[in-house]
Symmetry: C2
DNA sequence: TTGTAGGCGTTATCAA
DNA sequence: TTGATAACGCCTACAA
């Protein structure tokens, strides 16, 4: 075991020859190495380099960078000094390989012009950062790309996944089978247990209907989002269901795509009906804004006198003085926080069963509806 | 060197004992392993598992997943079949360790409510994805966090960095010393060679000034962004410089924070001057919108009759019917594409010298200014 | 074309 | 508390 013949040569020959790279304790005081974090041979400084210069074992170096490890103060000082001197930082990739924790989570969003996602992303990123977890971003162009993307996510050995995109049951199983915690953001399954953070879309929409109906509106219309958007369907159904309960039927539904222009176009369509609506429920704020602009600028209508318009989301643009949109505010920050918590709990403890947390939206009274 | 005593046993003992995990060729036809991608002992399927089941060497498996490797069709079929059967995907972390390429790039943005960044992020992510490169997101809360963040970036061994946040000269050197390619987005240094993709802020602003001045405006004001924003300073200075050249001096400058409210507040301040402006240059679209709203709703002014307002960015909101903002459109998609290209070129060939590409903004005529 | 064996830079396990 | 040594899962000469 101590015969310095067979084993050592291979690994050590490199290390030994490397010993001359950086003369012992290169710096007396000011002779700092020119390239911090790099050896003279142009390679990344490793814990071996630090160990050599500090005259300790490599494992000692490793321990010094592990919080709560058993190291003497003397050792720690010595190692940390050299580490700083050489610009050493442990390689997270190598660490991930052995610990099986990458400290990375995947965030999946689809590329729709959902004015909310960008903000969500920033919120998530901030909160993960606080926990020293990093966000690996996956944006979907088309739903069909999902499977390839899932493979990528798996390859990168992420600790968990937050998905603001819909996944099929098989795709959910993909992660479940592999023991990768998954938390949905604003999507869920009824017939399949998954963890999710949601805003209660239906409830919010019902609230809006109640307000409008209570104010005497009877002539409703709905502008939905894209047909394949779960959130849009929930909102639209929420509105229609409540209206039905209140005895209002035959409510025209125009399909939009969440974008400004589609709101305008939908409004035009509604105005071409034999009985134009006096209250319009839009599946998001941006379409509501498009709707208002069409009403005012194309039809010369006054809002809310001639027609009431409400949205959903609580985006900052809705509050602009030109719109003062009445809407439901999704508590985005709270939801982001909750999503991060829920995911990290499951990363720490994979046995936790799926859980859903549903937040109510907050009614935001603007001036776009007669109430 | 060939004494089979010391070395082999250790490694092989594990592999051999593992051989019993999955009975040879588990599936005859339908007996699929319950958990795809996982061995029966609950570990991730590795290339060794595939090799064992397929009855080939591990390196053969590895080669089959390397595009353009020298493998017989028979071998490839055999391996790929088993791989699919077991749900094997190569571990990108392990691969990164040996190849020293993580196929991850860091994207650094600061958290300001810059309505453009989110969109930029989506664009970058899309384009990197196409190259099978993944985005590791870093958002800065405060400038002071930068250094900690840089260490993180380095630890994750990213192949390159795109920064839409300003970095100090030392911070730039950090990457340069370590051979990590860095491309700035809309920031640059004059006295330090770095790669960057920029929109020509100054030029755009001068264009706006020319148009306004040519239309007879003489009474200008500027609403700047935050004092520490490079882009804002470039825009503001561009405007002021051109105005000076045209003989217009004593131009009041109000400082905003890029947000809607700050545009409104700035407008109020301007109106309290003894000589209110008739042309206002705003450092971004959102402030211009705030400005317009204040003018209309707080002061009952007409735009552009009473006051001309122009912005900068070309955000979609600026085109909304209530604003029809005259502005400069930054070619975001083109810039994102260019940034990705520039970075990846340097990842492939680290010897490439720094390069700057500056795109001109496109004048977008709306109806918010008398021209 | 295929297999053998060494190394990438850590952490983890055990003696010392 | 410290130091040797074995993984982690892959890629890549080199040899067959």
């Amino acid at each position: 075991m101590a015969e310095s013949t067979a084993k050592p040569p291979a690994k050590n020959s490199a290390k030994t020859s490397a010993k001359s790279r950086r003369g012992g304790r290169a710096s007396k005081s000011g002779t700092k190495s020119p390239k911090l974090g790099m050896t003279e041979s142009g390679k990344r400084v490793t814990s071996y380099d630090v160990a050599r210069v500090a005259g300790v074992s490599q494992s000692a170096v490793s321990r010094c960078f592990k919080p709560g490890a058993s190291v003497s103060k003397k050792m720690r000082d010595k190692v940390m000094t050299v580490a700083k001197e050489l610009g050493f930082q442990p390689n997270a990739i190598a660490r991930s390989l052995i610990t099986r924790r990458s400290n990375m989570v995947a965030v999946i969003i689809n590329n729709l012009t959902n004015l909310n996602y960008p903000e969500l992303l920033v919120q998530l990123s901030r909160r993960f950062d606080e926990r020293h977890v990093h966000v690996l971003l996956f944006t979907l162009e088309h739903e069909s790309d999902v499977d390839k993307m899932l493979d990528q996510v798996w390859q990168y050995q992420v600790d968990g996944v937050i998905s603001a995109a819909r996944l099929s049951e098989e795709q959910v199983s993909f992660f479940e089978e592999r023991g990768v915690p998954l938390v949905f953001y604003n999507r869920s399954f009824q017939d399949f247990p998954v963890s999710a953070i949601c805003c209660n879309q239906e409830e919010g929409e019902r609230l809006l209907v109640n307000k409008l109906h209570g104010a005497g509106h009877r002539n409703f219309a709905v502008i939905s989002g894209p047909a394949d958007s779960v959130v849009s369907n929930q909102r639209t159904q929420g509105a229609l269901n409540r209206l039905k309960e209140l005895g209002v039927t035959k409510v025209p539904v125009e399909e939009g795509d969440y974008g400004y222009d589609s709101g305008r176009i939908a409004f035009r369509h509604l105005m071409s009906k034999r009985k134009p609506p006096d209250a319009i429920l839009c599946a998001n704020d941006v379409m509501a804004i498009g709707c208002m602009d069409a009403a005012r600028h194309e039809f010369g209508l006054k809002i809310p006198e001639d027609v009431s318009v409400v949205g959903f989301d609580g985006t900052s643009t809705g509050a602009w003085a030109s719109y003062r949109l009445t809407t439901i505010d999704q508590p985005l920050e709270i939801m982001a926080e909750a999503a991060v918590n829920m995911l990290m709990e499951r990363v720490e403890n994979p046995e936790l069963p799926p859980e859903k947390r549903t937040f109510s939206g907050v009614f935001l009274e603007g001036e776009s509806a007669q109430l």
